[in-house]
């Protein structure tokens, strides 16, 4: 009964195409002296993802298995893991597409292990925070203008839009050879986000990001191995962001960077007429 339900959850058909062995690294730093590998047989139906397979194991074979997930649709960035030695999102990876009879699962490397397949992503979030990933303005206080908007053209938006798709899954950090040897190197995700804000026409915070993003553990430690862009599940292309930030820093060092024309704050719309039949906005729930 449970088995049927779990197969249905995959959203695919119920016909078992083959049985695949899930070879999973198990480790709890608090209780185990060293990791071990447990193997589970998982009946695979069409469309079954690695995440579904893990659910099957948890429901039917070993309830103590730990991994992290939330959205099941490649949006939250929680389920990154090393799948057959390649960083992928478990929810975004179909077992049949791996074309193997054994799926080796390990937690994302270059992050501490919390338990089994759960990496400690807090170092990523700290690095991300360290580059001030938000609009910084000196002339207007954003806090005072919670409902204000800035003018921005489509061209200005397109310069950084690609980099905003990042879901902070950490796959790029697991693939990067420099992160592998230098824990203090910021890494592809934070550096790309630093660049994303640096070139945003609304932002005036480049100077505040400089020390982190272009310092001795910043963008110039990247040597363009390119693995980050290859593994990124959202097509963010962090390698591009980092190289462009190096170009920007180089041009700036020559004193040739054009002065940024900061986006102005748009005045509140007063003159526009409301279209007939437009419903009222719901009551505000947060004040």
């Amino acid at each position: 009964m449970i088995e049927t339900r779990s197969r249905k959850q995959s959203g695919g058909s119920e016909e078992v195409i083959k049985t695949v062995q899930f070879s999973v690294l198990r480790y709890d730093p608090k209780t185990l002296p060293a990791p071990r590998v447990d193997s589970f047989n998982v009946p695979v139906t069409k469309g079954l993802t690695v995440l579904d397979g893990l659910h099957y194991i948890k429901e039917n074979l070993d309830s103590s298995l730990a991994w992290r997930y939330s959205c099941r649709m490649g949006v939250c960035g929680s389920c990154g893991m090393f799948i057959n030695s390649y960083p992928r999102l478990a929810c975004n990876t179909q077992v049949l597409e791996l074309k193997t009879d054994t799926v080796h699962l390990k937690p994302l490397p270059n992050f501490d292990i919390i338990k089994d397949l759960v990496p400690d992503l807090s170092v990523l979030f700290e690095k991300h925070r360290s580059v001030r990933p938000f609009i910084v303005r000196r002339d207007v206080s954003i806090d005072e203008l919670p409902s204000g908007e800035f003018f921005q053209s489509v061209e200005e938006l397109e310069r950084y839009l690609q980099f905003t798709y990042c879901i902070k899954c950490g796959l790029c950090m697991a693939a990067c050879p420099t992160v592998a040897t230098d824990r203090r190197y910021l890494g592809p995700q934070p550096l790309t986000q630093a660049y994303r804000y640096d070139i945003d026409s609304r932002d005036d915070g480049s100077d505040e990001r400089k020390e982190e993003a272009l310092g001795s553990h910043g963008a110039f430690r990247c040597h363009f191995a390119g693995a980050c862009s290859e593994v990124c599940p959202k097509g963010v292309d962090p390698a591009l962001g980092i190289q462009l930030s190096k170009r920007r820093a180089f041009v700036a060092s020559l004193g040739l960077l054009p002065k940024k024309r900061l986006a102005a704050v748009a005045p509140p719309v007063t003159s526009a007429k409301r279209r007939e039949g437009t419903p009222d906005a719901p009551e505000r729930t947060v004040r």
Partner: protein, 148 residues
């Protein structure tokens, strides 16, 4: 590996050295670093050998005699190989790290493409040039001035 090493799960030198299942540029990264170290080692040896001249002509001659063996000649060719790769790949890196050949940022539409793929023809081109340089150099090493 100590307990804390397991917990840290840092790939370390293994992650730095092995290209894994990633693209060719990741291998080029490793090779670039290794050839850089090899050229540096050669350079130090070169200075050391050259400085033996300071100890007089006799020392110099005996050092030169000792170096005039196939091992060093072939070794020198290996350094030449490393140089050809390092110089030409370095040219590609200098260009790409300054943002050339990468294309502009774009909306990520599945199936995604990336700057790494867009610069790949440049990588292939510099590797072809490196191969030509190696073949020409190889001719010089092994045919025009063969090892005695």
């Amino acid at each position: 590996m100590p307990e804390s090493g397991f917990r840290r799960n840092q790939l370390g030198l293994v992650g730095w050295l092995s290209g894994g299942r990633y693209g060719i540029e990741r291998y080029a990264f490793t090779l670039h670093r290794l050839t850089g170290l090899a050229i540096l080692a050669y350079f130090l040896l070169h200075i050391l050998v050259g400085s033996s001249r300071m100890l007089g002509e006799e020392t110099w001659n005996s050092v030169m005699e000792r170096l005039d063996s196939p091992v060093f000649r072939y070794g020198e060719f290996l350094v030449y190989l490393a140089f050809a790769f390092h110089a030409l790949n370095g040219l590609r890196l200098a260009l790409t790290e300054l943002g050339f050949f990468l294309g502009a940022p774009r909306q990520p539409v599945f199936p995604y493409t990336s700057s790494v793929r867009r610069q790949r023809p440049l990588f292939v081109l510099v590797m072809i040039v490196a191969a030509v340089v190696v073949v020409l150099g190889g001719y010089d090493f092994f045919f025009a001035h063969p090892v005695k």
